[in-house]
Amino acid sequence: MAAQWDTSRYLGLFVSEATEHLDALGKELVRLEGGVTPEAIDSLFRHSHSVKGMAGSMGYEATTALAHSLEDLLDRVRTDPARLDRAVADVVLQAVDALGGHVKAANAGKPFPDSAALIAQLKELTHSIRPGTEPQPSASTPANAPLVESEGPREPELPPRWLVTLRVASTSAQPGVRGFLAYKRLSSLGNLFRCTPGIDEVKAGKLPNGTFTVELESSEPEAVVSKTVSQVADVALVSLSRVASAPPVPSAEEPKPAEPEPRVVGQEPPRTVRVRTELLDEFLDLAGELMLATAGVREVGRTLEETDRGRLNETVDRLHGLVRGLHDKVMKARMTPVSVITDRLPRAARDIARRRGREIELVLSGSEVELDRAIVDELADPVLHLLRNAIDHGVEPPEERRMRGKPPRGTVKLSVKRASDRVLLEVEDDGRGMDVERLKALAVERGLLTAEAARELPEREALLLSTAPGLTTATSVTDISGRGVGMDAVKRAVEAVGGTLEITSRRGLGTTFRLSLPLTVAMVNLLLVGLGDDVYGLPIAKVAGVVETTRASLAHSRDVPVLQFGSAVVPARELSQVLEVPGRPHDVDAVSPFVVVDTDDGRVALAVDALLGQEEVVLKALRRPLDQVPGLAGVTVLGSGRAVFILDVARLERPVRAAAAGET
């Protein structure tokens, strides 16, 4: 039995669980400002209580003291929900932040920040909202509550007691931690008595048949108890039964675990395990490598005799199917709801609005829509920036809004929608809108545009000028936004995950930022083309067709060579020139393949040296500095081990086409 409670092993869990509770606390508090219910305050109280308990078991006295003061305040508010006003909410949020600071410090092994002043403030506030009648005594346990049974005197009216039997999965890597966490979770619902076997055994993972039993005194309904347990990974509820009467005075006698009609919990929720996100990344990488390896085997098969090749190909096809299936499953496992990033936004919106003297209502919808976690990760900062931007630059201060006949409280809507194979994320405000003329003027001033080009620039593109580096129309630079560093980063991040950014804005009515995002970092079907010794991949989806002809036979339209394609003519270009790579000297009378592709500006025929076939590959995103290269969508590694760039066909031709404008 581990007499020494080695906290370092549990630090990681403490950090993640405490952070979850603090996040939930902050989130619920902000929601509360809409309307206060006693249940919601109870929930705040429980989160704070859990943090206190966890900090206590880790031996973090400063954290425990702070959480304790917070809990006292919440407990006081609980008896009189009307007292939860803005001032109280502010202090509670401060305390939540400070606790977050403690958790960070614990994680980094640094000394904890001093929270004495905050504790004094919490105490003072707790005292000041003492109602005329004495509130009910706090149900909370003292700060240094022992982990094992508490045997203090009971109040005459006791909440019901439950006999809770739990099983820790035999596959659990840390049965002791899991069991202890379940214990801690239950302790947040009320008082725990009599853990069989003892809590030290539970912590050490010494559980006969993987089960242990505790008695819980709690006024929570049954459903809450079972839900609380189900939130701990690897722990399942075996039975939950009401203990008929108050237990006898704790004695050496063991309670009979199978006493009054234990209710076996039938339908468990789908079982889940937590997986490190890096592990998911590695799964995807490995699944991708498997696809490449399969392609490699097929490659080897090409050198075989016809008869052997048939049999090999059959097997390779089957292998390919299986690997593809595995890849799909891995992709599915990586799907993450957007709520991972939007959950924190109400809190952020509140902070920004308060600092900037705005009144804001943030309306979230569609946060349950799922995207690949890599994309969700990349979006966290851009979305926060768009929110800041909407509050800081979009929504006017309340007085100004009143003068304009708008409600003083501005609305920012963040909606997420699934649209076929894309996800649309919109951030919409009802603020002052963007000044297109001012953007144009600034762009001209900075030399990004000529005055003439600015005049002719369509509004849609002019609005995108706000994403040019260093361009901002904000009159004052604040700590929040207005440095013009943000919007270009937003655009880049969105494009890096294969998305697009669009802005619509109406003067005086508001601005909408619309992000169109791919669901996954997916497989692409490529047409491989040779250019000298180089190989490039063109997404088949963008290839309209291939024409084999000589350069000499091309027609010309206003000095631009054009190729007859179906009933239309399309401009013909050398791919080597488009990519600015050295090309081979060409015999104008030799037949070359021209690949006709769909770009954003219409069809273009690209002359290449050879067609090398079709291949289904895993697209790898480009990392810096390769993401700086224009015209690339990604890279892949072929079965031969060769890296091949995948061209961003849609945007390949843009600069050149602009020069050749006027073409029909």
Binding site: K620, R623, R624, P625, L626, V629, P630, G631, A643, V644
Partner: protein, 140 residues
């Protein structure tokens, strides 16, 4: 602090060991990167990873590149926040401790000069290199 010492032709350079992931033999061929400047050799694949490689001599424009290729060129792989960058060098000599870096030749890419025993070594600035590399890829 420990540094990796390597040569570009005859000149000696140093990079902090912390920033270096590994040293590998230069590949026989690279995949060409469109639009890139001459200093960019291309990308190589290393155990399934795609790593951009830059000819450090050309990037620094510090030495005249000799006619004959070095017998066994090496790629020094830098590890920068979740990504890698390969620097093509003539030869890697070893690891030495460098504490004092003098201010001579200081620039965006060079932290200064240091002495390792009898020889003078140019200590490079990792962040400066990274910025210069990014610029040579974004030529378009």
């Amino acid at each position: 602090m420990r540094h990796v010492i390597f040569r570009l032709e005859r000149d000696r350079y140093a990079l902090p060991l912390d920033a270096v992931r590994e040293v590998v033999n230069a590949p026989l061929s690279y995949t060409r990167v469109p639009h890139a400047r001459a200093a960019v050799k291309g990308v190589m694949t290393l155990r399934g990873r795609v790593v951009p490689v830059v000819d450090l001599a050309l990037l620094l424009a510090a030495v005249t590149v000799s006619e004959r290729p070095p017998p066994s060129p090496k790629v020094v792989l830098l590890e920068l926040a979740r990504r890698e960058l390969g620097l093509l060098v003539t030869e890697v000599e070893g690891i030495e401790s460098i504490e004092k870096v003098g201010p001579q030749n200081r620039s965006r890419l060079v932290r200064g000069l240091a002495r390792v025993g009898p020889v003078s070594v140019t200590v490079l600035d990792v962040e400066g290199l990274d910025a210069a590399v990014a610029a040579s890829f974004a030529n378009g």
